[in-house]
Amino acid sequence: MSDMPPAPTSADGPEPSVPVSDTATNSATNPATDTVTDSSTGQGSEQGTGRYLYAVCRRLPPGALQGVHGLSGEPLELVEHGDLVAVVSTVPLASFGEDALRRNLEDLSWLESVVRGHDDVVQAVAAHGPVAPMRLATICFDDDAVRARLRQWAVDLGYVLDRVTGSAEWSVKLLELAPQAEALEEAEAPASGAEYLRRRKAAVEQRAASSASAADVADDIHATLACRAKASRQLPPQDPRLSGLSGTMVLNAAYLVPDVDAAEFTAALDELRGRYPSLLIDARGPWPPYSFAMLGQP
């Protein structure tokens, strides 16, 4: 915070206007944006505009982002420093300032529209070459602040862009399908108490073995895929109500796969599916390298 520019100044872009696209429908209607905030920070940060950073890349062919808009339908603009190019657009601080963000991040439809708008831009940039996607709601006061960040991060950004060049992210989730034992157990009444106990014991053992083996299998699959990737990361398992996937998620991983090895990677996935028919292997990609663009990541 300490080295932040002292006050928001009018950015190079156009003044904030009524959103013209449906990518941020809430900014006009969300009551939060109409509220005058208490400026406990003393900076009046809820007024004026900021520059929203979507991604950093090295260069873009002319017209590469033609037809793609920023949040609220604002035009995308490029801020350059050295060989680094930041893709930005103007956002109203009434929606993206500190207090407004606190409220808006909890508004699911607002969040979805911003996440989608952010991804649209990142995807468009990624279609033309290596990209370092920024985290959601990375906002600078003005272009000078953007350039200052590019200067500050130049070495790390260069490293990130080098690493992701020619590669894309693949997501692989492993889902353990619900065991059948209990269904069987309930399907036929046990003939005797001993039969009942034997079944219980078998079911308990099977569940224990199954969960242990699911973890082992997840490790095996992750190792198999990781050695075909330049880098890998494990993310927390997703709640089935968010993912829409049923079963127990035993692995939620991301792999940075060179484009030239993508066929080999998907072939390995097919082979794994054949080897482990009881697991659902949900693979998606290629994606922009969202999981592999962190600064300072080894």
């Binding site: 300032g97 708008g117 070459g129 990375t138 927390p236 999981s291």
Partner: protein
């Protein structure tokens, strides 16, 4: 089931996805759409890119993660209300 990803599938097929492959003369790569829940994983979760001082007075990662937890809670509550039995 009404889920984030179910909704995002709809969005993913919409006009918002056009930029990735369509626009112009030299799209060099074809990338696939990302489900909303996966974007949230990456844009708000562990996959954060930089610590917070760029974000205007947004207290960086911690705040966002706290907000995400609130979000997930609210999503769960919403799902509980609207969820239909899984076929």
């Amino acid at each position: 089931m009404t889920t984030l990803s179910a909704r995002s599938e709809v969005v993913a097929g919409g006009p918002g996805e056009v930029p990735a492959g369509s626009s112009d003369r030299r799209p060099t790569r074809n990338l696939a759409p990302v489900a909303l829940v996966d974007l949230l994983d990456r844009l708000l979760g562990a996959g954060v890119f930089v610590a917070g001082d760029v974000v205007i007075s947004l207290a960086g990662v911690d705040l966002v993660e706290v907000r995400l937890h609130l979000l997930v809670s609210s999503v769960r509550a919403e799902m509980a209300e609207t969820r239909r039995p899984v076929p």
